[in-house]
Each structure stands twice: as C-alpha cells, then as structure tokens.
C-alpha cells in the first residue's frame, strides 16, 4: 500500500457566507512534489490552512504521517516547513532574529540560520530590520524560515508570487534540491506552467472541489486533447457544417461564423480542400495544438462543471 504523508478525507469548510471547500480528498505520497493547482478563490489557501490545523474544518479529517491533526496537532506539525501567501513578519526584528525565533520554535540548530539566509541571498541584510524590507525580500526570508530544521514536508502557498523571475527560478531549484534529499514538497499555484515544470503529482481545485488528482503526466495528456482547426466562414455556416459532417468530420463546435473542427494533425489540408470543393469561402483559419494552458483555463472556466468529464 502506498504511504501517504499528507491525506485529507472529505475535508469541508463553510464560512459564514462562503462554502470555501466542499469535500476535498488529497493523497500526497512521501517524497513527492505535489502541485495544488487552481484559480484564485478556489479554496487552495483554506485547504492548506486546514491541513496545518490553522483553520478548523467544518467536517472531514487530515492525517499527516498517519497522525490525525485534530487529535495530535502539535505532534503532527513536527518537521513541517510552511510559507503562507504574502506573509509579513515582525517589523522590529532583524532577518537573523526572525530566523533565530523560528529555529527555536522548531528546536533546530541555530547555526543553520546564517546558511539558509545565504541560500536565499539575504545574508547581506542579516542585521537589518524586517520592517525595512521589500515584499520580495520578506518572501525570501519566509522561504529561508520554512527550510529550517531540514523539514520532511514543505508546504508552500503560492511561493513564487511577488518574486522576480530570477528568484522564482532559484526557489524552484531549492525545492528540487530539498526534494532530492527526501523532503515532500506540497505547493499551491494558480500558474499551470509552474506546476507542470516541477510536479510529479497534481490536484486541480475549482470552486472548493478537487476536479482531478493524478500524475502530472496523465493530467497533461488528458487535458491536451486533440488538436483543432479553427475556420472562419464568409458565407452560410450551416452549409459549411453540413459539408464537413458529410466529409466525415463530426466533432464540430460552432461560434457564429467560426467553426472549430476537431481533427488529427494530418487532416488539416483535407478540411480546407473539402470546403474549397463545396465553394465555401474561408476567410481565415488557424490550427490549435491542444495547448495545455488553454485546456486548463477552459477546465476551470465558468462553463465547466466541477467534477465533470474531461474532454479528449
């Protein structure tokens, strides 16, 4: 049986006016890099906070290393590094004092503090007060803080938001390095490419529900779907669709004068030839290769029903 290091069961959270999380089951394997993907407001942060027992679930359970967080929260939180979204720390403490404070809470070796500050490039500002730092600098100290004590789980809520691309890249390398040393990395993002780049497993959350949880590879494959040819017709659209249907292209989507024809990549010319033979004017055409980002946007868009079948 697979050993899950983080597991949530039917996790649900109702706030006064919002039903933020509606029964989420997550299964994070030990040693994984797990992407928690979804648009803003999908319930990612609330779910993460419930995993850490910061927000109390309305119903459902969380297990970390098999420990029920509701029953033994303090024990379950041992060895976890966490970075919340857009956290600020204590204005009057220096970067080093902040690190020292968290090292003490984690009962970790304080010698690490300087090493980790250097790792995120903040060693130059070691003795400056946190209140004088830019958002990005605070975020970097936040990352360094999460790495204290060589955690066995890293939980990061939108870790790269607010960072310039260079540091976003550097953080990803740090996460990969940590993962290489056996740390399970769980991070949320609303950016597909970020998750695609790093993760072995992914869960997509939309409107408080997990739409899919699978390996990144299978999710990409499933979402890519088939390529399509998008043609804009000058004349009668109905006539054009009939010609296409009779020609063997049954999968069509019509938007006004535009027809999306789902094809195999070698069929592009065939479609255009068919239309030309029927004397139908094609104003414009382009092909779409089943771009993952588009598929994802469609997936989490207003029209897609959560939990619905995936196309393709």
């Amino acid at each position: 049986m697979t050993e899950y290091i983080i597991q949530t069961k039917a996790l649900e959270k109702k706030f006064k006016t919002v039903h933020a999380v509606r029964g989420v089951d997550l299964n994070v394997e030990k040693g994984d890099i797990y992407g928690f993907l979804g648009p803003n407001g999908a319930g990612k942060t609330t779910t993460i906070k419930m995993i850490l027992d910061l927000v109390h679930p309305t119903s459902g359970e969380v297990f970390i290393n098999g420990i029920n967080t509701k029953e033994q929260g303090v024990l379950a939180r041992k060895g976890i590094g966490y970075l919340p979204e857009r956290a600020q720390f204590y204005r009057n403490l220096t970067a080093y004092q902040t690190m020292e404070f968290f090292a003490e809470l984690k009962d970790a070796d304080k010698a690490e503090c300087d090493e980790l500050l250097a790792k995120v490039g903040m060693d130059k500002w070691r003795d400056e007060k946190m209140g004088t730092f830019s958002k990005g600098m605070v975020q970097l100290v936040g990352v360094a803080q999460a790495l204290i004590g060589n955690p066995h789980i890293l939980i990061l809520d939108e870790p790269t938001s607010g960072l310039d691309p260079r540091w976003a890249r550097a953080l990803k390398d740090i996460f990969l390095e940590m993962n290489g040393n056996g740390t399970t990395v769980f991070f949320s993002s609303h950016l597909l490419f970020e998750v695609q780049e790093l993760c072995k497993h992914v869960a997509i959350l939309n409107k408080g529900l997990v739409v899919i949880e699978d390996t990144m590879h299978r999710v990409s494959e499933g979402m890519t779907g088939r390529p399509k040819l998008v043609v804009r017709i000058a004349g009668d659209v109905n006539q054009a669709t009939e010609v296409l249907r009779n020609g063997g292209f049954a999968e069509l989507e019509i938007h006004g004068q535009v027809i999306d024809v789902f094809i195999h990549s070698e069929q592009k010319a065939q479609v255009l030839k068919l239309l030309a033979l029927a004397d139908i004017d094609v104003e414009d055409f382009r092909t779409e290769d089943g771009n993952l980002e588009d598929a994802f946007m469609e997936f989490i868009g207003e029209d897609s029903s959560p939990g619905g079948e995936m196309r393709g």
């Binding site: 706030f15 906070k49 850490l52 027992d53 910061l54 927000v55 109390h56 929260g73 303090v74 024990l75 939180r77 041992k78 976890i80 966490y82 970075l83 919340p84 979204e85 857009r86 956290a87 600020q88 720390f89 204590y90 204005r91 009057n92 403490l93 004092q97 404070f101 968290f102 003490e104 809470l105 984690k106 009962d107 936040g142 803080q145 939980i155």
Partner: protein, 295 residues
C-alpha cells in the same frame, strides 16, 4: 537562561509534559525584543519617566506629608499612562499577527495555542514591567534620597501598578483574540480605556443624582460602603487607587471639606484576589477564543 530553567523545574513534571515551556520562553523572548523597540512604547515610557520625575521634585510643599503628595501625583499619572501602554501592547497581538500572516507561520510549528497566548502575555508583561520600573525607579531614587521611610510602601505601589498594567494587558489581549480585525480590537482597546477611566465617576454620578442629600460634601463624605465596594469591583482603575492607598496605610483621604474613607472590609489581601480574577479570567476567555479561531 539558567534562571528560566530553574523556574520551570518548580512546575510538576505532568504539567511540563503537556505544556512546552521552551515554546513559551521563545514566544515571550520574541515579544520582548520586538516590542521593546516599539516607537510608541518608548515614547510613552519617556513621558511616564518625565512626569514621575517631575512629581518627585514637587514633594515638600503643602500641608500633607511630602510623600503623600508625590504618591497621589504618581497615582494619577500611572492610572492614566499604564492602561494606555498596556492596551498599546496588547490590542494587536492576535488580530495584527493574524492579518500579517506571521501568526500562521508561528502556529504551523509544533506549538500549542495556549503556549502562544501565555508566551505573549509573559513577553508583553515584561515589556510593560520594564516600562513601569523605569517610570517608578528614577522617581523612587529621588524620593528615597529625601526620605527612605516609605520605601516599602513605594515598592508595593510599584507592584500594584504592574498588576494594574497586567489587567489591561490581559483584557486587551482577550479582545484581540475575540475580534477578527485589528481595527476592531483597537476600538475595543480605546473603549476599555475610557470605560476604566469613567465608570467609577458614572456610578458616583448616578448615586448623587438619585439620592436626596443636603450638600455635595456631606453626600460624598457619607457615601455608603456598597457604592465604594461596587466601584472597586468593576473599575480596575478605582481598585488600583484604593489598593495603593491601602499600601501606604492610608484609609481615608480628606480635601476641601470632602473626606473619603475606605470601608473596613476592603483589605489589600482581598483586593489581590480581585486583581487575580481580572488578570486570569480575560486570559482564559482569550484562550478559548484563540483555540476556536480560524487564523
């Protein structure tokens, strides 16, 4: 910190297994370092020191004994400034940290929320005590140089002032744990300050307005014991002033025809129980609120 470790050893082992004292120490130390450099606290402490020093030089004039005048002066300053310092320290301790996100990081560690609250109370209480000791200390040196006979009374006075501060700290931390937003807990802190300042006066006003009497002076002088008792119970500021008078063995005050005496059943020892209730109850309420809270 050897002193801390020996202090912890007093606590029974069973309690030490449930409560991690190192966590409390870590939180307390953080609060102390962070707030000792808080601009507002520094400014208020300086004002406090200047006013008490000024008051200690005033002694020597008037009919009352010199120490009494100083005490009454410092009493007035402390019962105004100490609640402000305590509320400034306490009002944002949960709401502010929840809003900034730092509380999220703290609570993601292997720490119980109880330890966070107690650690904060100890740390902020230490900042408050430092401020009060500085405020009293310099004036104390000036007074003792003139007349060292009231040293014990002055010491008790300082401890009572720290306890008054702890009441306001406990109350404002309780509001901070109960309320969602920083603005709301600041509002509650301001409300608390004014409530402490005027509740006794309101009670006395109601009494004066509803009781037939010949003159203000006689009514004040003959104020029934129960009014004073209620005032001492519901207003920490009045309790503080009453207990300070008892600390200096003053059981009655007289000025411009009005004399005011403390009922015999109000003793310093009994008032200590009231102090303890005022400090402990808000912390307990604050703890349950923090425990249930979604951060």
């Amino acid at each position: 910190m050897r002193s801390w470790n020996s202090l912890v050893k007093i606590v029974p082992l069973e309690v030490r297994c449930v409560v991690n004292f190192n966590n409390i120490k870590t939180i307390a130390k953080k609060e102390f370092m962070d707030n000792l450099r808080n601009k507002w606290i520094i400014v208020l402490t300086l004002i406090f020191i200047l006013l008490t020093l000024a008051m200690s030089f005033v002694q020597g004039g008037g009919g009352m004994s010199s120490a009494d005048i100083t005490v009454i002066g410092i009493l007035a300053i402390a019962s105004m400034l100490v609640p402000i310092i305590a509320i400034m320290l306490g009002y944002n301790t949960i709401t502010g940290e929840a809003e900034s996100g730092s509380l999220l990081v703290v609570l993601s560690n292997p720490i119980d929320r109880f330890e966070v609250l107690i650690g904060k109370f100890v740390g902020l209480g230490s900042v408050l005590s430092t401020s009060i000791v500085l405020g009293f200390g310099l004036a104390g040196i000036v007074i003792m140089a003139e007349d060292s006979s009231s040293a014990v009374g002055y010491g008790i006075f300082m401890v009572l002032t720290i306890l008054l501060g702890l009441i306001y700290l406990s109350l404002s931390m309780c509001f901070s744990a109960l309320l969602k937003r920083s603005v709301a807990s600041l509002g509650a802190g301001i409300g608390l300050f004014f409530w402490g300042m005027i509740i006794g006066t309101i009670l006395m006003g109601v009494y004066l307005a509803t009781t037939p009497g010949s003159s203000l002076e006689s009514m004040m002088t003959n104020m029934p014991d129960w009014i004073i008792t209620v005032m001492v119970l519901i207003s920490p500021a009045d309790m503080y002033q009453t207990s300070a008078m008892l600390g200096f063995d003053m059981t009655s005050l007289g000025a411009s025809g009005i004399s005011f005496s403390i009922p015999g059943h109000i003793t310093l020892a009994r008032l200590m129980i009231v102090y303890a209730v005022w400090i402990i109850v808000p912390l307990v309420i604050g703890f349950y609120s923090l425990k249930k809270r979604d951060i």
